[in-house]
Point group: C2
DNA sequence: GTGAACGTTTGACTTGCATCAATTTGGACG
DNA sequence: CGTCCAAATTGATGCAAGTCAAACGTTCAC
C-alpha cells in the first residue's frame, strides 16, 4: 500500500511525502495550510529504517535534527556520569522526538528504536528557519515543546507522589489513549517496551512492575501475556490513578 | 538605585527598560542585538510587585503571558483533581516562568511569589510575533524551552533514582550555581522557599528534609539556621550527588 | 534440535522513608 | 512584652518497595 503510493508518486528517495502520510493529522503537517505543506516537505528527510535496539541519535553528540516517528516506537533516555540510565520517554507514530535537544549544541538524550522503526528527520536549523516564516508552524512548535514540559512535570509528579500501582495504571492509560488517537484498539495492544524499560521509566524495580501486573491480572483489571495486554476494566484503572488523591478513603 | 534610574529615564510606567536592567545578560535581551532591544521593550510590560504568597497566575486560567523574574523568587506548582500540590520549579531573577503554558489555552501551573517579587511580563501572542521576526530571539526561546524540558527530566531522574540526601545535595548545588550566576555568594545564601516546598519539590516528607539538613550539619558539610544556609564543603556535596552512580562503593 | 542468553515471574528478607506524635522555634501583631 | 499560629525539629514505629536469589519462558544462533 505504501509501496503503491511510492511508485505512483515517484518522489526522490530522500524526500518524504507529508501529503500522503497517514499520520499527517498527528504530526507537524496538522499545523499548517495545505499550500505551505510543500515548504515542510522541502526540509524533511525520509529517515532510514532502524532495527530494534539501534540508536537514532546519541546523547552528547552534536544535535542536528529532531525526528517524527513514522512507524514502530522509540525510547529516549539519559545516562549519568556513573552510567545509570533513566528512561525519559516513549514515542509512538506521529510523535516528535528530540525537542529537548533544540538548544543546538548536542543531544540531551539517547534515542533508541524499541522495534523496527522508521522516522522522518527535520534538520533543526532548517526547521527554525521555516518556523520563522510560518507563524502557524512556529505556534505549533511552541505548543509541542510546552506540552513536553507539561508531560515531564506529570512524570515528576507520578514519581514523587504515587505508588507503584498508580504509576503503572497511569502508564497503561497513557498508552491506551495514544493507541486510540491512532485509531487502534485502546484496550487491546502490545507493549512496545520491555518490563525493564517500564520499571526504569517509572522509577521502580523490574520485580515490582511484574508483581503489579500479576496483581492487576488477579483483580481482573487487565490480562497480560508477555507484551500483549488487554485492558479489561478501564474504569478500575482510572480509579487506581485517582485513588491516591482522596484522603484516606479506605477500601 | 533602581528608583534613581527610573526618575532619570522617566519611561512610561508600564514599559520596562531592558537597556538599564541589570539582568539583561541573563534574561531574554541576551539573545538579541542592541538595536533590536527596542522591539523587545515595546512588548514587555513592567509587572507590578507581588507580596509573599500572592499568585502571579493560576492554573487553568487563560494563559496570556510568560514572566521574567526581576527580583524576589517564584515557585510553580500543579494541583491535581484531588487537591494535591506538586511543586514543579523555583525561579530566580533572570529566569523565565510560564514556558510550560505556551500552548496558548490556559496556564498549566500556578505561579506564586515566595517573597516580595517583581516581574516583567511578556504577552505570549506578541512574543510569538516578535520571535517570527527575530531569528536570534526565536532560537533563544527554543533553547530556553529545550532546557526546561531537560531540567524537568533531571528532576524526574532525581526523584526516581536518588536518596533523600542526594536530592537535597543536588538542590543546594543548583541553588548555589544560580546565585553564582547572579554574582552573589555561591556558599552563603538564604533559601527563598520553606522546608515544606523543598520537600514537596523533591518528593520527600518535611521531616525527612529536616533530618537531612541536620545530618549534613553534623557532618560539617553545611551550616543552616532557618533559611540561612552556608555551604561549608561544596566538594562533599558534589560527592553526595554522584555517590549513587558508582556501584556499591562502600563507605 | 540444543544450548546460551536474556527477559519475566515468584518468593523471602531488608530498609529508607513516610507517618504519627510531641516539642521547640520563630515571626506577626495587638 | 507576651500571645498566637505556622514552621521546623526530633523521636518512635510501620510499611511499600528495593534487593537478593532462584526458577521459568522465550528468542535466536548455530
Amino acid at each position: 500500500m505504501a509501496q503503491a503510493i511510492r511508485f505512483r508518486q515517484a518522489p526522490s528517495p530522500l524526500k518524504a511525502s507529508c501529503q500522503e502520510c497517514s499520520l499527517s493529522n498527528l504530526c507537524l503537517p496538522l499545523a499548517i495550510q495545505d499550500n505551505d505543506l510543500d515548504s515542510l516537505e522541502d526540509i524533511v528527510q525520509q529517515g532510514r529504517m532502524y532495527n530494534r535496539g539501534e540508536h537514532i541519535f546519541d546523547q552528547s553528540t552534536p544535535s542536528r535534527s529532531c525526528f517524527a516517528v513514522k512507524s514502530g516506537s522509540v525510547k529516549t533516555s539519559i545516562i549519568t556520569e556513573g552510567g545509570e540510565e533513566q528512561v525519559t520517554g516513549f514515542f509512538m507514530p506521529g510523535e516528535l522526538v528530540g525537542l529537548d535537544s533544540m538548544s543546538g549544541e548536542s543531544y540531551a538524550c539517547t534515542a533508541k528504536a524499541l522495534e523496527r522503526t522508521s522516522v522522518c528527520e527535520f534538520p533543526i536549523d532548517k526547521l527554525e528557519e521555516l518556523t520563522g516564516k510560518l507563524p502557524d508552524l512556529q505556534h505549533h512548535m511552541y505548543r509541542l515543546m510546552s506540552q513536553e514540559i507539561q508531560n515531564s512535570h506529570q512524570l515528576a509528579m507520578l514519581l514523587s507522589k504515587n505508588t507503584a500501582e498508580e504509576r503503572i495504571a497511569a502508564l497503561l492509560l497513557s498508552l491506551s489513549s495514544r493507541f486510540q488517537r491512532r485509531r487502534m484498539s485502546p484496550t487491546n495492544f502490545s507493549l512496545p517496551m520491555a518490563r525493564n524499560d517500564i520499571a526504569n521509566f517509572l522509577g521502580l524495580a523490574v520485580e515490582t512492575v511484574s508483581r503489579v501486573f500479576t496483581r492487576f491480572q488477579n483483580q481482573g483489571i487487565i490480562r497480560a501475556r508477555g507484551r500483549e495486554v488487554e485492558l479489561l476494566d478501564v474504569e478500575a484503572l482510572q480509579l487506581v490513578t485517582r485513588e491516591f488523591s482522596r484522603q484516606n478513603c479506605q477500601q
